[in-house]
C-alpha cells in the first residue's frame, strides 16, 4: 500500500510538507501554520473521541490490572503485578492461550493463502460471472458472527446436516463438538468460511494496482502462470499481505463470538479462547475485573509483539 502513496514533497520532522519559503511570505499567520491549525481543527473531534472512548478506558484497564478483589471491593494488589504472576499459574488461561495460538497457526495461513489464490483466479478478466463469484465468496462477511456461529453449531450437531451427509456416504457420525480436536476444527472451518472472502477483497483491490505490463513481461520471458503468480504478483502484493496478516492475527487473538456461540468453549475448556475466558472471569464467575484486565493486557502485548514481528519480516523494503 505504501508503494503507491510515496510522498513527493519532502517531509518536515512533524510529517507536514515542508513549505519553508511560503512561510516567510505570509502575513501574521503563515500559510503553513494556518494549514496546520486547520488540520488540527479537523483532527481534534476525532482525536478527542478516540482518547475518551479508547485510550482512557485502556489506561483505566491498566490501573485495574494492578488491583485485586472481587466485585466493587478493589484494592491495590500486593505485589502490584500479582494478577500477572497469577496468569503464570492459571492452567485454564494457559489452555485458552494454547487454543488461541492453535487457531492462529492453522487458520490464518490457510485463510490468507486461500484468499490469495481466489483473488488471483477472480481477477481474470476473461472469467464469466466474475461478479457473481466475487459476491458469493464475499457474502459470508455480511452475516452476523452470532448467527453464522449458531448455524455452524446446528450443522455440526450430533444429528446435524454434516453427520446426516456423512451417514449417507456410509461413514459413522462424528461427535464434532464433543471432541477436543474436532471442536477446534469446526471453529477453524467456521472462521475460514467467514473471513476468507473478506481478505480476498483486499487482495483483489491490491491486484488492481499491479501494472499488467509486469505480468505480460513475465509471460513473454516464458514464466508459467504459477511462476508469474509467485515471483511477480505476490511480491507486489506484499504490503497488502502484511496488512491482512496483521489484521487476521489481531482478530484471531481477540476471538470471542465463535468460541462463545459455536462450542461454548467446550468440551471442558478445549476450544475456549482467551477473550472468552476473560468474559467468563468478569461476568459469569465471581467478578474479578483486575484479573480480567491483566488478561486483556496480555492479549494486547501479544498482538503488539506479533504485529511487530510481521512488520519486521514482511515490510523489508529493498
Amino acid at each position: 500500500m505504501s508503494v503507491t502513496t510515496q510522498p513527493t514533497v519532502p517531509l518536515a520532522p512533524d510529517g507536514e510538507p515542508d513549505l519553508t519559503p511560503a512561510k516567510r511570505r505570509g502575513g501574521r499567520m503563515t500559510i503553513s501554520r494556518r494549514t496546520n491549525l486547520v488540520g488540527w481543527g479537523f483532527l481534534l473531534p476525532a482525536a478527542g473521541l478516540v482518547t475518551l472512548m479508547s485510550f482512557w478506558p485502556m489506561f483505566r484497564a491498566l490501573i485495574l490490572s494492578f488491583q485485586s478483589g472481587r466485585g466493587t471491593r478493589m484494592r491495590w494488589a500486593d505485589p502490584l503485578w500479582f494478577n500477572y504472576t497469577r496468569l503464570l499459574e492459571d492452567k485454564v488461561f494457559q489452555q485458552t492461550l494454547a487454543n488461541t495460538f492453535i487457531y492462529l497457526a492453522i487458520q490464518v495461513p490457510i485463510m490468507l493463502i486461500l484468499a490469495l489464490i481466489l483473488a488471483n483466479l477472480l481477477n481474470d478478466r476473461n472469467l464469466r460471472f466474475r461478479g457473481l463469484f466475487r459476491t458469493a465468496i464475499f457474502l459470508p462477511c455480511a452475516v452476523g458472527l452470532v448467527s453464522y456461529a449458531l448455524v455452524f453449531r446446528t450443522m455440526f450437531a450430533n444429528d446435524g446436516m454434516v453427520n446426516v451427509f456423512l451417514g449417507k456416504l456410509g461413514f459413522d457420525p462424528v461427535p464434532w463438538l464433543n471432541n477436543p480436536t474436532t471442536a477446534k476444527l469446526v471453529i477453524v472451518m467456521g472462521l475460514l468460511w467467514r473471513w476468507t472472502g473478506y481478505n480476498m477483497i483486499f487482495y483483489l483491490a491490491g491486484l488492481q494496482n499491479i501494472d499488467p505490463n509486469t505480468l505480460e513481461a513475465a509471460r513473454i520471458d516464458g514464466a508459467g502462470p504459477i511462476r508469474t503468480f509467485l515471483y511477480v504478483t505476490v511480491p507486489q502484493l506484499k504490503p497488502m499481505i502484511l496488512l491482512t496478516a496483521i489484521m487476521s492475527t489481531n482478530g484471531t487473538l481477540q476471538l470471542f463470538d465463535e468460541s462463545w456461540n459455536l462450542t461454548a468453549g467446550g468440551p471442558g475448556y478445549a476450544s475456549m479462547t482467551m477473550s472468552h475466558y476473560l468474559y467468563q472471569v468478569s461476568f459469569q464467575g465471581s467478578p474479578n475485573f483486575g484479573y480480567a484486565s491483566a488478561i486483556s493486557y496480555v492479549i494486547l502485548i501479544l498482538v503488539a509483539i506479533l504485529a511487530l514481528i510481521q512488520m519486521k519480516v514482511g515490510d523489508r523494503r529493498d
Binding site: 466485585g71 492459571d90 450437531a157 450430533n158 464433543n178 467446550g266 468440551p267
Partner: protein
C-alpha cells in the same frame, strides 16, 4: 503551612462525614422488626426486572393485580430483561455506582444469588423488616439467598427436580412409572437398559459438559461443591465421587443421549428420541409443548445414589428469587413481595394453571388448584406431588463461586466418561476451583 493544615483538616472532616454517612446507611436495614403498617407507602411505582413473559413476568403482573386490591395506587413498571442482561446490568451499575439505574425489584437466578450479594452488597436490601415468614419456604430454597444470616431474597421459581417419564414407552418394555419411583440409580440403569433393548430409546438426555444432572445428583444427597464455610470441596468429596460414578455408568449404559445445545436437548424428548427427562420442575413447561404426547407422561421422584449417607430421592436444579434494592421504594417493594409471593394463595392459584409457576411457598400447596388432576400427566395431581417433593429436598451449602465450581467439574466430566480416574480428575478440578477462588 497554615494552608496545608486547613486543607488537611477539611479532608479529615470530610472523611469523617463520609464515615458518618456510611454508618447511617448501615443502620437503615439493621432492624428486624416488621415495619408498622402505617409506615408502608400507599402509592408509588415499583420498577421490576424479570425475563420470561410467559412465566415470571406474567406472574409479576398477576401479583400486581393482587396487591392493588389493598393498595390500588401502587403500580408496577415491569421491564422485560433477559437474565444475562440483568447480570451484566447489575455488574455495570455496581462497578459504576450508578445506583439510580437500579430497579426496585429484580429476579435473580438462585445459583447466582450468593455471588451477587457477596460481591455487590450495595445492590441489595435485606428482607429483615418485611414480615416474610421464611419458615413457610423449604429450607433448601431459602438457603440460596441467605447470606451473613440475613435473607436477601424472596423465593419464587421452584426448581425441585422431577423425573418425567413416557408411560407409553415404559409400557412397551413392561414397566410402569411405579417401577421408577423411589429407586436407586443402579435400579434405574438396569431398568433403563431393558427399556433401551426393547424400544431402542434411552431415558435421559443432556448437554455435553453441562453438569446439571450431576448437581441434581449431588444435592439429592445433601452434597455440595463447597464446604459449609464456603471452601472448595471437590477433591475426596465422597458424594461427588458417587455422583460422577453414577453419571459415568448412565452414559456407558447408552441410556443417556448427549447433545450439544439446549434446543437439541429439548428436541430429544419432544421428538420422542428419549423416553424421559430429569431436571427442575420447570422443564415440564417444555415437555408440554408436545401436544401430541398429552396423557403419555408421568412424573415421579428421581433415583437416589447408592451407598451414600443421607441419599434421598429429592433434589433441585435452578430456580430464582426476587431481590429488592436499597432504593427509596424498598419498604414498599418488600411489602409488595411479602403480600404476594410470600403471602397470597390467590396469586399462586392463578399463576399455576396459566404459567405453570409452582409455588415455593408451602401454604399454597393446600390450595385446591394444586390438587387438580393434570390431564397431560395421565390425570395425576403432579403439582401437589412436586410441592411435597420440594419439602424433602436436602439443603445444600451454596457458594459465591458456584459457576467456577460448575465449570471446573464440567471440564472433568469428559475425562471421566472417557474412562479416566475420577479421583485424579477431581483433584485437578479442585485445584482449578481453588485457584479461581483466591
Amino acid at each position: 503551612m497554615y494552608n496545608l493544615n486547613r486543607r488537611l483538616l477539611l479532608g479529615l472532616g470530610l472523611s469523617a462525614a463520609a464515615v458518618g454517612l456510611a454508618g447511617c446507611g448501615d443502620d437503615g436495614g439493621g432492624t428486624d422488626e416488621p415495619v408498622a403498617s402505617e409506615d408502608i407507602p400507599k402509592s408509588g411505582t415499583i420498577t421490576v426486572w424479570c425475563w420470561d413473559p410467559a412465566f415470571n413476568l406474567y406472574s409479576m403482573k398477576e401479583a400486581e393485580k393482587v396487591y392493588q386490591k389493598t393498595s390500588p395506587d401502587v403500580k408496577l413498571n415491569i421491564v422485560e430483561t433477559p437474565w444475562d442482561d440483568v447480570q451484566t446490568k447489575l455488574t455495570t451499575i455496581a462497578q459504576s455506582k450508578a445506583f439510580d439505574q437500579l430497579p426496585d425489584i429484580f429476579l435473580c437466578q438462585n445459583n447466582a444469588f450468593q455471588k451477587n450479594v457477596e460481591n455487590y452488597p450495595d445492590l441489595f436490601a435485606d428482607f429483615g423488616s418485611s414480615g416474610i415468614k421464611y419458615d413457610e419456604f423449604p429450607e433448601g430454597v431459602v438457603g440460596y439467598s441467605k447470606f451473613d444470616d440475613k435473607n436477601w431474597g424472596c423465593p419464587f421459581d421452584n426448581g425441585t427436580a422431577v423425573n418425567a417419564l413416557r408411560t407409553d414407552i415404559l409400557e412397551q418394555a413392561g414397566f410402569t412409572v411405579e417401577d421408577f419411583t423411589d429407586i436407586t440409580w443402579t435400579d434405574f440403569i438396569a431398568k433403563g437398559k431393558e427399556v433401551l433393548g426393547k424400544t431402542g430409546k434411552g431415558l435421559m438426555s443432556g448437554e455435553v459438559g453441562s453438569p446439571d444432572i450431576l448437581s441434581i445428583m449431588l444435592q439429592s444427597a445433601g452434597g455440595s461443591f463447597f464446604t459449609e464455610d464456603g471452601k472448595a470441596n471437590l477433591k475426596d468429596n465422597e458424594k461427588l465421587i458417587k455422583s460422577l460414578e453414577a453419571y459415568r455408568d448412565i452414559v456407558a449404559a447408552k441410556i443417556f443421549t448427549q447433545v450439544n445445545s439446549w434446543d437439541e436437548y429439548i428436541a430429544t424428548f419432544i421428538n420422542s428420541k428419549v423416553g424421559g427427562v430429569i431436571n427442575g420442575v420447570w422443564i415440564l413447561g417444555s415437555v408440554q409443548t408436545a401436544k401430541d404426547q398429552s396423557g403419555k407422561w408421568a412424573v415421579t421422584n428421581i433415583p437416589k445414589l447408592d451407598g451414600v449417607d443421607g441419599a434421598t430421592n429429592y433434589s433441585a436444579n435452578g430456580g430464582s428469587s426476587w431481590a429488592i434494592t436499597p432504593k427509596d421504594n424498598k419498604v414498599l417493594a418488600a411489602d409488595f413481595l411479602a403480600k404476594t409471593f410470600a403471602g397470597s394463595k390467590e396469586l399462586y392459584e392463578t399463576i399455576l394453571p396459566k404459567a405453570g409457576a409452582l409455588a415455593n411457598w408451602i401454604p399454597a400447596a393446600d390450595s385446591a388448584v394444586y390438587k387438580e388432576p393434570q390431564e397431560y400427566f395421565g390425570g395425576d395431581a403432579i403439582y401437589s406431588k412436586v410441592v411435597d417433593y420440594a419439602q424433602k429436598v436436602p439443603a445444600m451449602a451454596p457458594g459465591a463461586y458456584y459457576y467456577e465450581a460448575r465449570d471446573a467439574v464440567a471440564a472433568a466430566i469428559p475425562k471421566i466418561i472417557a474412562g479416566g480416574d475420577i479421583k485424579a480428575a477431581l483433584e485437578e478440578a479442585h485445584k482449578t476451583l481453588e485457584f479461581a477462588m483466591n
